[in-house]
């Protein structure tokens, strides 16, 4: 039997073409504005002397986490500076932070929805499975016609790739609040907002922060991949090294990413736990 091939690719292309035809003026415009804003942000960070930046971050690390964390942060960042990777590091930081903020701002409300409404849960969860298993590279392709090559397209695909844990763990954290506590809140006449703000979100906070932590880590790994569409930063260095077959340079930039990842991870996991013990 000869069943004709289902033209899935053509359908998707058609949809994307349609969307780009009608939305590109807006997304391109937004992209212009955002990339300018990002350049300013990177410039602002670079305007700070690197030693001062390192000291400030180390001081925060000392305050939030402890002595060893402060020492590690200082050493790691000095090493990056020493490798002449300071500028790409700042670019990567800005990319990751913006992508994370966007992912969290969208992801946490979606997670709350999925936790409260079973219907939303049934729609959102399979969607997340889809988003997470789809190879990350695929997101890069449609980002280009909408946003053009550059950091904004990178952020767009990064947000899609990094958002699922924020949604998933927010929902999980809220659903894990013990039923008897929820019942107690109900019995004292809490409305939905009160229940959320006074009980569920505070108790879910460690789990939500674990989700934010995961989102940051995924964002970091994605901005490297997104270097292929011109994200720049440390990922850009790696990408250059691949194209020119410079394994040494590649490792330098790779280690830089590892250092950034460790610092961000320790910071965010600390925020997640600081409220639970009591």
């Amino acid at each position: 039997m000869n069943i004709p091939k289902f033209p899935l690719a053509r359908y998707i292309d058609n949809i994307l073409d349609y969307l780009t035809d009608h939305l590109a003026w807006f997304t391109k415009g937004a992209s212009e504005i955002m990339s300018t804003a990002m350049e300013y942000a990177v410039d602002a960070l670079l305007a700070v002397p690197s030693w001062l930046f390192i000291l400030v971050v180390a001081a925060i690390a000392y305050k939030v986490v402890g002595k060893r964390m402060a020492l590690g942060t200082m050493l790691g960042l000095f090493f990056l500076e020493n490798l002449h990777l300071w500028e790409p590091t700042m670019e990567t930081l800005v990319l990751v932070l913006i992508a994370t903020v966007v992912a969290v701002v969208i992801g946490i409300p979606l997670g709350i929805l999925a936790a409260i409404f079973d219907g939303a849960h049934r729609v959102i969860m399979p969607l997340l499975d889809f988003m997470q298993t789809m190879p990350a590279f695929v997101y890069l392709i449609p980002a280009i016609p909408f946003f053009g090559l550059g950091p904004v397209a990178a952020i767009f695909s990064t947000v899609i790739f990094a958002m699922p844990p924020a949604i998933r763990l927010t929902s999980l954290g809220i659903r894990q609040v013990p039923a008897d506590l929820v019942e107690a809140a109900d019995s004292y006449g809490c409305d939905r907002r009160q229940k959320l703000l006074k009980l569920q979100l505070p108790l879910a906070m460690p789990t939500i922060m674990a989700g934010v932590n995961q989102t940051i880590m995924l964002a970091l790994s994605m901005v490297v991949i997104a270097a292929m569409i011109g994200a720049g930063g440390l990922g850009g260095e790696v990408w250059k090294a691949i194209q020119r077959l410079h394994p040494g340079k590649g490792f330098e930039a790779g280690i830089g990413i590892v250092i950034i990842a460790m610092i961000l991870d320790r910071f965010t996991s600390k925020f997640g736990h600081s409220k639970t013990n009591d």
Partner: protein, 417 residues
């Protein structure tokens, strides 16, 4: 039966309440009405029966204990009262308000204003301090910070947790945690406290203390309390009235003494067979009504006459409103008559030991062992309700408190010694 409860308009009326867990409750309710058993309904319709035709009243200021073994529907019942579980059918009325008809908004207000709930496993909020836990209900009501802090502090003081305000629940022992739960309930000053197995998770000594304190609290603040328990001793200890449940139905409603002395059926009888009667029987159940009393205006001759008629050697003197004044001995009366005195003033013995209606029989045994006069039983307002003599006390214990069932036939005051 004589109870100390003033029967007034009930605070809460529950009528023909049904709860069936499942998708088609109506069919199951029909079967319940025909008297089909819970197990059979589960088998035939896959519907699980929570409550079947439950009706009772709750009176202002009483501790109503709902007792039953696990699966008897008592927790379901208490949750239906504030609709944490939605009843399938029936009516619940509090202060003329039909709860089952309330919309979300109305239900929320009802829960905020009328109820305070206390849970078996405390259900304290771990991220809040003791003080913040106690403030919770007021916070939900939208009270301002100042009132909130003050009322919560007051509630914590009532349960003896002064000085622990800034601790977290996890730093407290089980008994103290439940005190926080109690304070959280009291702080909103609810009409009705719902206590779901509130003391069941505590160890026995703490539990006993908490029971006593609850009764004390109730004496002081006259709260209406609906208390769920599976423990008969606890029910007898704190309950003004007890509702005994089995398989979602009410088996018997009555005072602890009624449950003990007139079990409705074999199930109840088996339930209560191991209870130590002396601990539960109270003065009011072993006393005899004092039919023969004297009034201050009675002359000495009248008194002697009354005593002779009743065959007793002493007589209690009461006011018109039955307030106990004292006792007059036949011997003294006789002597006074001979010496020409006509009033009772000189021979009235005023300071005599008395006992309250709710005094447990255990305490009475010791008193009666030493006394050689009958012991008058008086209410809180000083009114004479009855008399305990050794004979009636022993009979009462022996018969499990059956004595007061035939108060009219029993002989009047008589001195055994």
């Amino acid at each position: 039966m004589d109870t100390s409860l003033e029967i007034t308009q009930p605070k809460m009326q529950v009528r023909n309440l049904y709860k069936v867990f499942g998708s088609a409750p109506d069919a199951a309710i029909e079967m319940l009405k025909r008297g089909v058993s819970k197990d059979e309904i589960l088998e035939k319709t896959k519907q699980s029966v929570g409550l079947a035709d439950v009706s009772f009243d709750v009176y202002d200021g009483e501790i109503l204990v709902i007792m039953g073994l696990s699966g008897s529907g008592k927790s379901t019942l208490v949750r239906c009262l504030n609709r944490l579980i939605e009843p399938s059918k029936g009516s619940i009325i509090i202060d003329d308000c039909e709860i089952t008809q309330l919309n979300t908004e109305g239900l929320r207000n009802l829960r905020r204003k009328k109820f305070g709930m206390i849970f078996q496993h405390f259900a304290l909020f771990p991220h809040r301090t003791v003080q913040q836990n106690a403030e919770f209900g007021l916070e939900v009501q939208g009270e301002d910070k100042e009132t909130r802090v003050e009322k919560a502090r007051e509630a914590l003081k009532q349960v003896g947790l002064e000085g622990w305000e800034d601790s977290y629940p996890s730093q407290l022992s089980g008994g103290m945690q439940q005190r926080v739960g109690l304070a959280r309930g009291l702080a909103v000053n609810p009409d009705i406290l719902l206590m779901d197995e509130a003391f069941s998770a505590l160890d026995p000594l703490i539990r006993r203390d908490m029971q006593h304190e609850l009764v004390e609290l109730q004496d002081r603040f006259k709260k209406t309390i609906i208390f769920i328990t599976h423990d008969l001793d606890e029910a007898l200890e704190i309950g003004d009235r007890i509702i005994l449940m089995k398989d979602g139905r009410i088996v018997q409603i009555g005072t602890p003494e009624e449950i003990l002395t007139q079990p409705a059926n074999d199930y109840v009888a088996r339930f209560i067979e191991n209870v130590d009667m002396t601990k539960v029987l109270t003065a009011s159940s072993v006393m005899t009504r004092s039919k023969t009393v004297a009034y201050p205006k009675d002359g000495l001759r009248t008194m002697l006459h009354k005593m002779r008629d009743a065959g007793i050697s002493s007589i209690f003197v009461v006011n018109r409103d039955k307030t106990l004044l004292g006792i007059v001995m036949a011997q003294d009366c006789n002597d006074a008559l001979k010496s020409g005195s006509k009033t009772i003033e000189d021979i009235l013995i005023r300071n005599i030991p008395t006992t309250g209606l709710d005094e447990p029989v255990t305490n009475l045994i010791a008193i009666m062992a030493e006394a050689n006069l009958p012991l008058p039983v008086v209410s809180e307002t000083g009114k004479l309700h009855g008399v305990i003599v050794r004979g009636s006390l022993l009979a009462g214990i022996a018969e499990g408190g059956l004595a007061p069932l035939e108060p009219l036939d029993s002989p009047s005051v008589e001195v055994v010694s």
